[in-house]
């Protein structure tokens, strides 16, 4: 965007509440198109892509202002590759096992140790025809991780699953034709998925991040019509979401990113289309 930033708000912030701090500036190495980021609660760090520079950055948890990252993963050995439309804009973080999971061009998912720094090789590369991972030509698949139930969830958006290259208007991909491809967390190489949630009733698509709530085995992802849906890790085939919050229908804005706050039983939604953050109370998935 005009000025990238990682703005930090108090949980109870409201309309026109000023951020408590913001990470920004040349030395931070952040850039526009940060379409996912994570908080490492074990090591108190922020993990985020630098999408235009094929890099992953790790900052102190309370980083502020023009603060450089603690570590930078970047270079030829990393195999990190973006696309023209998305750069390398998506990731997920496993704070139990200390791993960064990043989808890249060519229908690959790379896994790095959070300790990695510089030009390092990924510790695992999930890729191949048996994986059923399909990114679109101009965008990446999505990733989520359940570190307790040991699952890696890949949101396939390309090919049959939809995506920008199929005339979706360049916004979010999927639109109800994607798939959630579920692997063992440590799947490597041309591994087959454990299950695939796909079909006309799944209504998958539309959001750039996948979250999980391991204690209850939920997968939280985008659903058609600007909704957020909850699927079970035990679902497969043409499974509709168990729950759905029709965010766009309720508020008029489409969701683009999600985060969970289990302590307060809340779902946090970012809407890139309209410069808004919304918080929903959603006790059902946490109880």
């Amino acid at each position: 965007m005009n000025t990238p930033q990682i703005a930090v708000f108090a949980r109870l912030a409201k309309e026109n509440t000023v951020p408590v701090r913001a990470l920004e500036g040349q030395r931070t190495m952040i850039s526009r198109t940060m379409h996912s980021l994570a908080y490492d609660s074990v090591h108190d760090e922020i993990v985020v892509n630098s999408p235009l520079a094929q890099a992953i950055l790790m900052f102190r948890g309370d980083a502020n202002g023009e603060e450089p990252p603690l570590r930078v993963i970047q270079g030829p050995r990393t195999q990190i590759q973006g696309t023209d439309y998305d750069g390398n804009d998506k990731m997920a973080f496993d704070d139990v096992h200390g791993e960064i999971i990043i989808p890249v061009a060519g229908n690959k998912v790379l896994v790095f140790s959070r300790d990695a720094n510089g030009d390092v090789e990924p510790i695992r590369v999930l890729s191949g025809p048996d994986t059923q991972i399909r990114g679109s030509v101009r965008g990446h698949p999505l990733v989520g991780v359940d570190p307790i139930n040991n699952l890696l969830i890949v949101g396939s958006t390309g090919g049959q699953g939809g995506g920008r290259d199929e005339g979706e208007g360049g916004r979010g991909g999927g639109r109800g034709r994607g798939a959630l491809v579920i692997f063992d967390r440590t799947a490597n190489g041309n591994a087959k998925p454990k299950a695939v949630i796909q079909g006309p009733h799944t209504a998958l698509g539309g959001v750039a991040t996948i979250q999980t709530y391991p204690p209850k085995g939920w997968i939280i992802a985008g659903s058609a019509g600007g909704s957020i849906g909850a699927w079970s890790i035990h679902d497969s085939g043409d499974a509709p979401p168990r729950w759905r919050i029709p965010v766009q229908q309720i508020t008029g804005v489409a969701p683009s990113g999600v985060a969970l706050d289990p302590v307060h039983k809340e779902l946090i939604i970012a809407s890139g289309g309209r410069n808004v953050l919304l918080t929903f109370y959603w006790p059902e998935i946490f109880d």
Binding site: T3, V18, Q26, G106, V276, T279
Partner: protein, 447 residues
């Protein structure tokens, strides 16, 4: 109990639940405010308190779009959302039905004030035009507007805003000096340049819409040749179109390639007298076609021949620690002397370079300091007719004006302010994602 089966019971219980809820809210508020003395409610009897969802603001400002209107309506109704405790039960996979959870959001974070990304002066109408990249509008003010310190905000003469305008994340701005036509470049979702006639007002359709690549940033024009330039951040390039290009018209030429040193391209300005093109970069580099090619370079201002195309290297580069470049945004040029004015966003400064500068050079002048009123200056426009330079400040919803010769901690000669004095902007710019910091109970929101 499935969703929707208890509507009648809910209606009957509404009054009782509301009364209990209000008493409960009073108790929670008292707890959070650390009021320890006994109040009119009587002596404390609660033995435990469960936090309720925050109710949000009840009063909101006038909405400007359909979406914000709906959000504002939600804020008005949020008092009742707290009592929608009705549980929705999940379906089984075999059941094939989805439980819809239709509670309203308990909190909303947004900025109701403009965030000004770019500025330009219309010499015909003696007006200042500002790009509001938050509310997706173009606001037009009298050039001599100077918002008094006791006023909440300046009133624009005209506002181009609404669904017909196609404004979305509007950033780059160019005003045709002979017609006053407003050229507006969208930096994200809209992937286009739209053109409004000078004097346009309200929710009006643009007279032209040129479809462009994704990630536009700035624009500039060569009036002598009838050409308009648009920078593309990534994959980095400079597109040159006929000035009247429309629809899917192709560019006349494109500057791109590894020798151009265009790394995360931003501002652009033309020196038609000297046949030069100045392009700002932030240094974020990679070839998306090749894995592992990412690099970070220092920011720079690259100077090219005006008609450069293809993989043409810059003639010279202004780059290095002495330059103080820090996410430089818009650039503008004084054609009388070739001086280059740079809106240095995170540096909170205006840098003035000689048009002939090269290498690691310090700016000839720097406007910076607590008197300057600068707050994340992102756009800049030299008004040669009135010997002034205008700056749009993303950080405080204002535009500030200085003498062309201003230097140091200079106070602005005039300020157009569209938010209460001293207010800091949320500075949202397409917050696509969010993460939750469970340690500090904070939201991490990237633009």
């Amino acid at each position: 109990m499935r969703a929707g089966t208890s509507k009648s019971r809910s209606g009957i219980l509404a009054v009782a639940v509301t009364a209990i809820g209000i008493l409960f809210l009073f108790a929670v508020e008292r707890q959070e405010s650390k009021i320890t003395s006994e109040s009119a409610l009587g002596s404390p009897r609660l033995v435990s308190i469960e936090e309720l969802p925050d109710l949000g603001d009840i009063c909101v400002s006038q909405p400007t779009t359909r979406s914000s209107s709906m959000i504002a309506a939600l804020q008005d109704n949020n008092l009742f959302s707290a009592f929608q405790e009705k549980r929705v039960y999940a379906s089984s996979q075999e059941g094939g039905q989805t439980g819809d959870v239709t509670r309203l959001p308990v909190r909303t974070i947004r900025d109701t004030y403009p965030i000004y990304s770019s500025v330009a002066v219309d010499p015909l109408r003696d007006e200042v035009v500002l790009q509001d990249t938050n509310l997706f509008g173009i606001k037009v003010f009298n050039r001599l507007e100077n918002t008094p310190s006791d006023a909440e905000a300046a009133k624009p003469k005209r506002v181009i805003q609404g669904p017909k305008t196609l404004n979305e994340y509007n950033n780059g701005l160019y005003i045709d000096p002979t017609t006053g036509n407003i050229h507006s470049v969208a930096m994200d979702t809209a992937d286009s340049m739209i053109v409004f006639p000078g004097g346009a007002n309200g929710d009006v359709a643009p007279i032209r819409k040129l479809n462009t690549p994704h990630r536009n940033f700035a624009t500039a024009a060569n009036e002598e040749k009838g050409e308009i330039y648009i920078t593309i951040q990534y994959p980095p390039k400079v597109m040159v179109y006929r000035k009247d290009a429309n629809g899917n018209d192709k560019p006349i030429r494109v500057l791109e390639g590894e020798h151009t040193k265009l790394y995360d391209t931003h501002g652009i300005v033309l020196d038609v007298k000297k046949n030069l093109m100045f392009v700002g970069t932030w240094g974020n580099a990679s070839d998306y076609k090749v894995a592992g090619t990412g690099k970070f370079y220092p920011p720079s201002i690259n100077v090219y021949p005006l008609d450069a195309s293809g993989d043409t290297p810059p003639l010279r580069v202004i780059q290095g620690s002495k330059t103080q470049l820090d996410w430089a945004g818009g650039m503008s040029l004084d054609p009388d002397n070739g001086n280059l004015y740079v809106a240095n966003d995170v540096g909170n400064s205006i840098l003035v370079f000689h048009g002939t500068d090269q290498g690691n050079v310090a700016p000839a002048r720097i406007i910076k300091g607590n008197k300057s009123g600068l707050s994340h200056p992102a756009g800049i426009s030299v008004d040669t007719k009135n010997k002034e330079v205008w700056v749009s400040n993303m950080g405080n919803s204002s535009a500030t004006c200085y003498s062309l010769t201003a230097n140091g901690n200079a106070a602005p000669s005039r300020t157009i302010r569209s938010a209460p004095l001293g207010r800091t902007s949320v500075k949202f710019g397409k917050p696509q994602a969010v993460a939750y910091d469970s340690k500090r109970e904070q939201y991490l929101v990237p633009n």
